[in-house]
Symmetry: C2
Subunit: 343 residues, 2 copies
């Protein structure tokens, strides 16, 4: 195994170029929103499964804060099995699929066709079944397979413009200017994260179990990282618990030998994660803290720091992966079951 | 440590008597619903934290299926920190607190008073701060400290009558007749569960980690059991993952040496948990399956089996606890941090 994806000038250059390619899709994104994600529609569904749903959750927090739009987040498998009484021909369904072939997402699009609801999908690969099937799609091909940076960026464009159309994002223009400056700021985050990631891997690559906790708008990303990277790509056991539930059960597991990973951001969840950090530092010798406040985000206006936290923490935490791969010798690309065997 | 809470004729008799005492609270419950949980109200919030929120989730599934009522489930800590734009003076807030002193629940009631929203709380103990503070309360004192049977029963009474009032539960009368027969049927579940629990404890009390998965309306109960019993009361590491997310990350952890606990019920989630069981039996030698179908539920009409699944699985799985306590020698009553130290 070679040291893939390490921070090099080439990696950084490619990252910025790829993120800027995604930003250049904005006219296409706005056109789709103008055409079908209009304020007149009855409601909006964000539908994903596993990691793709997890990284939609931050936007649910954004909607909850900024909007009166009726927006629902649904797990694709559950939506297929249980339905939703609010889903109708006047609904918009927004989906994401990296592979472009996720079974449950295909089924949701077929169901939407029957109902008459319009579907939009962000797709990470060309010439896929989903691209052929879905009503509207945006290809965002320029992404790293092991982090969701690109997926967040695409969603910021969709949902910020949707809020602007609804008259709920008065400083939309300023926001997009900040968005344009984000790739360069994120490279700095990644540089810092790379040092943190190397240290993390050195210290904890032999841990067979880690508790992950986070709150606010970065919970989805941390849940996703624990499940989709450490569990799926490293076969390391994790427990993910929201910061609000931490003190209602999981806390009793903490001792000097239990590794707790706490991610902190800059929204209303901070007092709780502060309490968790204080508690864990008192009773465990193995505490890792990632804090979005630690990254300068040069060029980003302070009022958008919190909104960008999911992508910031993703950029930082994503740097753990290549170092873990190197330290454990366990390839991030290898799977024993997922899309390998039938189940 | 004595063998507390073991299935004895006395235990069974007390259980039925206590559950019937809770059922006898129905006039009080219906009076509160008649007075304040009226269909004219703008919306209904179910607010809990940790385990109490988890055991409210089954009722969100019930509402989603049967009702057009605008109902929201909120984590108390998150509601306090982030608010909710839908919460207003015309909202009803339904809460549960076993101790009657849960910090976050007290704060939610105070917030509701400021807004002018009405509050209702089910309380497990007498003369508590919450009883003094809340607008309407029902004391359900007759509960076992280690399972949520009583908490479910109280909520069935509240929410079924609420649906009846909304005209969304045409067979309410028949439902309440079934509810009245439930305690006796549940004792049979507990007898079966006791045998399962003894076997479980014998086989798995030395496991330091178990994956818990479930879907549909029993997910909340399984999440709660893993976190509030095994983690909090036994210091055993768990990962809880919804059945719909299982194949999107966690599956890669499964091997011959990883204990997976699968709970199956009788709603739309069944095909997914069936797939998980098939998969796990192929790749692991340590698979535990609890299935609500395995319990006869004598006296219960078939159309209510699925609706009662959360309480059925709770009654069954709850029997694991005393056997684990005996096998591990770790008292269910002991805490090192929770309500012991400050944090």
């Amino acid at each position: 195994m070679s040291r893939m994806n390490y921070m090099t000038p080439e990696y950084e250059e490619t990252y910025i170029k790829n993120m800027e390619k995604i930003l250049s899709l904005r006219p296409q994104v706005e056109k789709i929103v103008d055409q079908v994600m209009t304020p007149e529609k009855k409601n909006l569904f964000l539908v994903g499964i596993g990691g793709t749903l997890a990284i939609m959750l931050p936007f649910m927090k954004m909607f909850k804060k900024m909007s009166d739009a009726p927006v629902y987040a649904e797990n694709a498998a559950e939506l297929l099995a249980e339905g939703n009484r609010e889903l109708c021909s006047d609904s918009v369904i927004f989906l994401m699929s990296d592979s472009g072939s996720t079974k449950e997402i295909i089924e949701v699009i077929k169901m939407a066709k029957e109902i008459g609801a319009v579907t939009i999908c962000g797709i990470g690969h060309k010439d896929t079944p989903i691209e052929k099937l879905v009503d509207h799609s945006v290809l965002y091909l320029y992404k790293d397979a092991y982090t969701a940076d690109a997926d967040y960026l695409l969603q910021y464009m969709f949902f910020a413009y949707y809020l602007e159309k609804r008259g709920e994002f008065p400083d939309y223009q300023k926001f997009t200017e900040n968005l344009a400056r984000l790739p360069k700021a994120l490279v700095e985050v990644k540089r810092q994260g790379d040092i943190q990631g190397e240290e993390y891997a050195k210290k904890y690559h032999k841990e067979d179990y880690t508790i992950f906790t986070a709150g606010g708008n970065i919970w989805g990303e941390i849940y996703c990282f624990a499940m989709c990277v450490l569990e799926e790509m490293q076969w390391i056991r994790t427990k993910s618990v929201t910061a609000s539930d931490f003190f209602h059960g999981t806390l009793e597991l903490v001792d000097e030998d239990t590794h707790v990973f706490i991610a902190k951001c800059e929204d209303e969840s901070r007092p709780v994660t502060d309490r968790i950090e204080k508690f864990c530092r008192q009773y465990s010798d193995k505490v890792t803290v990632y804090d979005t406040k630690d990254y300068a985000l040069e060029g980003i206006d302070p009022e958008y720091r919190s909104m960008f936290s999911p992508l910031v923490i993703c950029a930082a935490v994503g740097r753990i992966s290549p170092h873990m791969e190197y330290a454990t010798g366990h390839s991030l690309a290898f799977r024993r079951y997922y899309k390998v065997v039938d189940y």
